[in-house]
């Protein structure tokens, strides 16, 4: 293709947008709205997930070692934990530390009643956090089978709840996004259909002056790309502004326990690039394929 026809196609695409500016505006409006809805749904589920993960990380299990455990046993348990693929982190708790932790939660008087060697009451233990709470039962069993481990205290109930919430968030989130995507596709398809229909005469004329199908399609495709890119950028900027504002607001308003939660909100910068990329890809793909499909119908003369 010659340079002159390339610039022609670009100009023609831009001209079409301007000439049909009401329709273009409508298309951009619809695309932006859909992208905003989808983006919000994604951000919401990411954040819910983040909060649940926060709860998850607050939960740890404790593996108590047998009374007879010596340094060698501690080392071998340590090695076994390091090899377990579901163990995220673990920390050794000495008797002194156990006592210390215990005294924080138990009244002084109760401590006094213990014997001389207060520390000896407490077994050696490991505090363990898991990567995947949904596998807590299996992991507990495996850790209990490590020689030298006496018993494992695991928050199985909490784990099940958290896993359930996570799954629900995931299913609802993806369900909503899929529904929104479907609605978006239907609306956009109709918009493109109307746009192309409005210009069927133009397409017909092009056919009779000997334009190739590709040549007729290109301005529509260029138009689709331009509208897709414009919409993606607009949606991205709106979502960025809105989300950042909302996050500031929520974090300054919230107090107490809630603020601990909200500290875990995902900052926009963390998802910005993927979001912009998917908006661009989605917008351009819809524009291009939509116009390809619907122009085709009018090319048959």
């Amino acid at each position: 293709m010659k340079g002159s026809s390339f610039t022609y196609l670009l100009k023609e695409g831009a001209r079409n947008i301007w000439v049909n500016r009401m329709m273009s505006l409508a298309s951009v409006g619809i695309l932006v709205s859909c992208m905003l809805l989808i983006g919000s749904a994604i951000l919401l589920s990411i954040n819910l997930n983040g909060m649940v993960s926060y709860v998850e990380n607050q939960n740890e299990m404790v593996a108590f070692l047998e009374d007879t455990a010596d340094d060698n046993v501690v080392a071998s348990v340590e090695a076994a934990l390091a090899q377990n693929s579901n163990v995220d982190s673990f920390a050794f708790v000495s008797r002194e530390e156990a006592l210390e932790r215990y005294s924080e939660v138990v009244p002084e008087s109760l401590l006094e009643s213990l014997q001389e060697d207060k520390e000896e009451v407490f077994p050696l233990s490991f505090r363990i956090t898991l990567k995947d709470l949904s596998q807590i039962k299996e992991t507990t069993a495996r850790i209990e089978s490590i020689p030298g481990v006496m018993r494992v205290n695991a928050p199985t109930n909490v784990a099940e709840t958290v896993t359930g919430i996570k799954r629900a968030v995931y299913i609802c989130g993806s369900g909503i996004v899929v529904i929104l995507l479907a609605v978006t596709l239907i609306i956009i398809a109709n918009t493109i259909k109307v746009t192309v229909f409005n210009r069927r005469k133009e397409i017909n004329i092009m056919k009779f002056v000997g334009a190739t199908d590709l040549f007729i399609r290109m301005p529509f495709v260029v138009e689709g790309i331009l509208l897709g890119v414009i919409s993606a950028c607009a949606a991205y900027l709106l979502l960025w502004g809105g989300y950042t504002y909302l996050m500031d607001y929520v974090q300054t308003q919230a107090a107490g326990t809630l603020s601990a939660f909200l500290k875990n909100l995902v900052p926009f910068s963390q998802v910005a690039r993927q979001l912009l990329a998917s908006f661009l890809v989605g917008g351009v793909a819809i524009g291009v394929f939509g116009s390809m499909i619907f122009v085709r119908k009018h090319l048959k003369v």
């Binding site: 010659k2 022609y8 017909n204 056919k207 009779f208 002056v209 000997g210 190739t212 040549f215 003369v301």
Partner: protein, 225 residues
């Protein structure tokens, strides 16, 4: 050259628009096609342009076997001729210049050649001063001349016009046909459909009469009678 060999066209709804038409138009001829409304004139033109395909028979135009053209050959074939439609078929959002230049752009002509060719054609049809006008700022006759300019701009060997004077007054009609006449003098074949007998009578040309889907008369010098 145009050759129809035993061409029939029956539309999907069963209408027999053309029946066993045999026809030959040599290069450089000027031919009027006349006939009553519904006789099949537009159908003949549609077959010529490959807007419709014949139900049977063969059509040859400019060396192309039109009834057997493959999809990808159609653009090339259509570039070899110029068409003027009764309803103009101009693009309302483009000005006069662009409507004409358009026919060159779609065929990959360079911008430099377009800038040379379009003003020349516009002055030929007397619209040089209206180049920047939009379609809704033009009279019917002016729009018709834009359509004619578009048909002429890529210098086709054959001009096909379906009632190019259908929407304009007799004086302007005469001018349009006169213009086609001039173009024919430099070697372009012209096929023009009309039902204005007065107009036909003013030019001493071959006239093919169609009635009820058949060629009923083919007079080499109708104007002389």
């Amino acid at each position: 050259m145009i050759r129809f060999s035993n061409v029939s066209k029956t539309y999907d709804n069963g209408t027999e628009a053309l029946k066993n038409v045999d026809l030959e138009i040599a290069d450089g001829e000027f031919v009027f096609i006349v006939g009553a409304s519904g006789a099949g004139k537009s159908t003949l033109i549609k077959l010529l342009l490959r807007e419709e395909v014949p139900s049977s028979g063969a059509i040859e135009v400019n060396g192309y076997t039109v009834n057997r053209l493959k999809r990808r050959q159609i653009p090339g074939f259509r570039r070899s001729l110029g068409v003027v439609f009764q309803d103009f078929r101009l693009i309302p959002t483009m000005n006069v210049y662009d409507n004409v230049a358009f026919a060159l752009r779609v065929t990959n002509v360079s911008t430099r050649d377009i800038r040379r060719r379009v003003p020349y054609i516009l002055s030929l049809v007397g619209l040089a001063s209206k180049a920047r006008c939009k379609m809704n700022e033009l009279s019917g006759g002016e729009q018709q001349r834009v359509a004619l300019a578009r048909a002429l701009v890529n210098n086709p060997k054959l001009i096909i016009a379906d009632e190019p004077t259908g929407n304009i007054d007799p004086e302007l009609s005469y001018e349009i046909v006169d213009l086609l006449n001039e173009i024919n003098k430099v070697g372009t074949t012209v096929v023009m459909v009309t039902h204005e007998h007065d107009l036909v009578a003013q030019f001493n040309r071959r006239v093919i009469t169609i009635d009820n889907g058949s060629v009923v008369a083919d007079d080499a010098d109708w104007g002389q009678r």
